[in-house]
Point group: D2
């Protein structure tokens, strides 16, 4: 009955098996192997466009490398005030960019408010030498509050960014969950809506540890810069085939969408269950995360029954489902609530 985080889940057996399948004989190291090219091709098919990639073992690495590739040290990155890159990465964007700033924006459910974004971009002064002008807009889908942006919402924000010559980054640590929830295609929810560079997560949805950085369109020109930065950050491990094999298995036969669908459905069940027992949703359940205010004593009761979940700074609670959340987990939660 662990609803702490989807990062607590094990890896899916098919992805584990892919490591064994890749573990045959010698292979060129540092990313010159055949698996990487296969992963690139698989991602190109899924996203319906030719693209360039790099693979890393953590979402923090994916985000920070992506941002460093887009933002000079004297620039800034627009993001939501609750974004993972602001709250949970120990200054990784500042480290990788050489000291760029994050410029914070408000918005319900951790979606960047469109009007606030418009105002902020209108106030951007690239020629004012005293300020760090915005060079990048970073969106998260799912947001840090479990809400999804639909394609037109991405497009609206990306459009404002591009008009002002900002690049658009998407933190897609839970992109699969957002896809399933919105019914959009990967292309619609990324480059067709204006995303230039994307962190495409697999770890939270069944991989052992694998996140892809995707470069779309003209951002593909940054590939050499991206690889150089990855290398010097220690994110070019010798046996890259074991990263690439995970990505291939993750995408194969739509496994990733099946797993995300499973997690999302579990979250709906958890949300319904909690609401039945007096909980109040604080954010829409667009993916695999449920944020609720709980009636007095409920949290303590659940903890006592051995349930794992997370106390949010604002007094609410977060329950996260994963591909591995089982009917038994939900039944145990129901029992604990009764």
């Amino acid at each position: 009955m662990n609803f702490m985080s989807d990062t607590a889940a094990p890896a899916h057996p098919a992805i584990l098996q892919a490591l064994a399948d890749a573990n045959v004989g010698a292979a060129p190291s540092y990313g010159s192997d055949a698996w990487i090219e296969r992963a690139r091709e698989a991602l190109s098919r899924v996203f319906e466009t030719d693209l360039d990639i790099w693979l890393v073992s953590s979402g923090t690495a994916a985000n920070a490398l992506a941002l460093a590739t887009l933002c000079p040290p004297h620039g800034s990155v627009l993001c939501h005030e609750e974004a993972h890159i602001e709250r949970d990465e120990r200054g990784a964007p500042e480290f990788f960019t050489g000291g760029a700033k994050l410029s914070l924006l408000p918005g319900l459910h951790a979606r960047i408010d469109l009007a606030a974004l418009r105002t902020r971009i209108a106030a951007n002064q690239p020629d004012n030498v005293h300020e760090s002008p915005a060079h990048v807009l970073s969106l998260s889908n799912l947001t840090e509050c479990g809400a999804a942006y639909r394609p037109f919402e991405i497009a609206e924000r990306a459009g404002l960014a591009h008009e002002a010559a900002l690049a658009v980054h998407l933190d897609g640590a839970r992109f699969a969950n957002a896809l399933v929830s919105t019914g959009a295609t990967p292309a619609e929810l990324s480059w067709r809506s204006g995303v230039d560079v994307m962190s495409f997560g697999a770890t939270k949805n069944g991989a052992l540890g694998c996140e892809a950085i995707l470069l779309f369109g003209s951002a593909r020109q940054r590939l050499a810069d991206l690889r150089a930065r990855a290398k010097r950050a220690g994110h070019m491990p010798p046996k890259m085939r074991f990263l690439a094999a995970q990505m291939c298995a993750y995408l194969k036969g739509g496994l990733w969408l099946e797993l995300a669908g499973r997690a999302n459905r579990s979250a709906q069940d958890v949300a319904a269950l909690l609401q039945k027992h007096g909980a109040e949703l604080t954010h829409p359940v667009d993916g695999n995360e449920v944020f609720v205010r709980l009636p007095a004593d409920t949290a303590a009761k659940l903890k006592g029954a051995g349930a794992g979940f997370y106390a949010w700074p604002d007094g609410s609670f977060r329950f996260v489902c994963s591909w591995a959340t089982s009917p038994d987990d939900i039944a145990a939660l129901a029992a604990a609530l009764s």
Copy 2:
């Protein structure tokens, strides 16, 4: 017949199996799991001392994090002029330290020359504000030329460093090979000889991707700093258990020493074979690497026969054996040479 690098080898089946064994149910993420503590305990036993650790997926990350923990941005690191941290890490030490310098020393077979080290340390002026004073001595064992330091050689160099208040780092990407070759214990070849912080490699010797940073003695006070730096460098992936499980399996029952012994013996076979055909060793074969000058046309002949090996910048060639080098590989090399 791939002698390109030990990084081209697959993972040992027992280490792969350990991933499957760890893939059971939910586990706390970001390094709070039980596997990490088990890895720490196993390393403490192997090194015969209580120690602190962090685990990363590449040797570059291990070295750069270790150095950043020991050297301020306005300091410098003494290392051999052919050291991996100088030649092959794309400025990772400079990046992680915030701009510290590497100060290069000569020495045969990539062992730092003792007299040169003494002279350099004597010239160190911590109070001269214009220079970046040395704060760290970094040794590599095996060296970049495949030679081993014996414990007293480490101790001589570390002793000079400590007298001048420098910390001592050891790049042990091929530490297992050096151990087998010298017959020393892990303790003798590290902290008992004065090593403060160590990069302890497993990837080149059978792991999928796992290197430990070991903090000995008073360097253990740097653990919080090390973990903070690892986090912001993207080297705290969510499912850390898959790193820790590799390390546990690597050490279990002395697997690591068995694998290194196998690689070292293969290297002896390769060296003998090449010498029989006119090759001249340029460095001692203390571990799993063979550096040779080849008779005219030999390199071309071998390439033509499909052998993989590496042309070194100085005109010599490097043949690397791994745990996976088989009698068939060596037989094929023999055939190609005839």
Copy 3:
């Protein structure tokens, strides 16, 4: 009739003369000259305590060096959301610290709100590896809105910081103006109220370009680190005597307080004049800055008459007086307003 900024003012003749007086014969370079020690002694007398110093040519350098000396790259600095270090220094604190974060707090008149500070500090989690914990509290006096903190207000905030093991930095670019306004002594408004490290400005109050970084109490242990950082940032120019001579002349005979008093009185005159013509003060006039909302057309009328002042982002206007603001300037403003 230039009220744009006190940085637009010329240097006071006595400070200019000090350059000529120092321009005699050879002197040791890079800060080993006699003038620096004289400046240190003069500052010690003024602040009634033994202290250490470094001198730089810009406030940005003073602030960024001070913060880098106090905050590790994986930490954060608490400051007001309108602080100069956040708004106007192009990411200098992030650059000098190696990527530390600024964590923003609200408060009227750019004074950090005491309750907000208490809440923020209570939420500080130094052991949470995912966040950049606060290591420093940075206050500005005058604030960015021209308000002054009195000693007890500094002490309240510094007390909260120290309880949580944070160091306290004071941006005193307009410290002289705050002193005159509050009637406090330099000691009362700095170390006696808990300030550890201070940027002590002279440029805006009559120098050509000179700011001191002052280290009080146990922060004096950071002097070697501070000097090393200054050197590598290019803030150890060869002929340091010309910085030190400015500081000596600035302090001599209380010139600095006389100049600040003059500027403050001019600001009172400007404030009264503008209010007489319908302006509304948006912040207290505690120093040499006047922030006002102007009646319709007044700004345009004044611009037309050649007055220099600054449009603030919130629609108000800033008029700054300096030591060089003359009765003629104020008479011209009065004429323009009529």
Copy 4:
């Protein structure tokens, strides 16, 4: 009788006077003043080409900003192993570039050896992700050993650099001395020979503290980047007019060349004098610096007589003349030698 360094000399009266002349009324701050544009125009005339500039107060700042504008964090800078940027700037290039490397080259009298440069550039592998490829060649004129490059020597080296797509930086801390010595024009010794960006020093030759960064040709596109980096490094002090006024006075009427000529002639006198007393020159005296081996006891005798000079790490001694070295200084040296 101070021959320690030209940085120990006072400022020339005409340059000091220029500060007073600029100290009239209000002026826009942060580099929008009229003096900067005048300095740019004066430099354009002197260098016979339109160019862009920034002004800073130290040579370290000039060099580090120039290099950061040309070299990405994952690149390297080729320079002489005794270059000031390597030996005497406390890692400033590494700090400003975000961790780029310096790659050292040998050469007599601190001139980069042409053959060594050719070999190094031929070995440059921009596509090898493991190395930090060279992006910049940095030359110094005068070199760190007081020798001058003539235009064709600059052109040979710059030509090799440009063929390999490297930019060329010139550290011209003592450019005036090199000009006088070689008889070349400023254009011939800079952009006409292939220099892209230059640190143009005035401090060692009569200014209080003023160095210009000059951008030639296509490097002028880097101006916005340069200014942003200067700002965040604290090298955009408010009252920039006092930097610009120095540069204008330095160039006016050829003062700079007159002063350098004076210093160079003094150095010839000192060299002749020392040689007469048994000293052996270790480097050509192409400018204002004299490097010698002294007969036994001579150094002690001179120290005893109160002469200031510098013991070089290799056992030789450096005597530096400046614009302010007087016949009396040289007579005193002669007396001390007798």
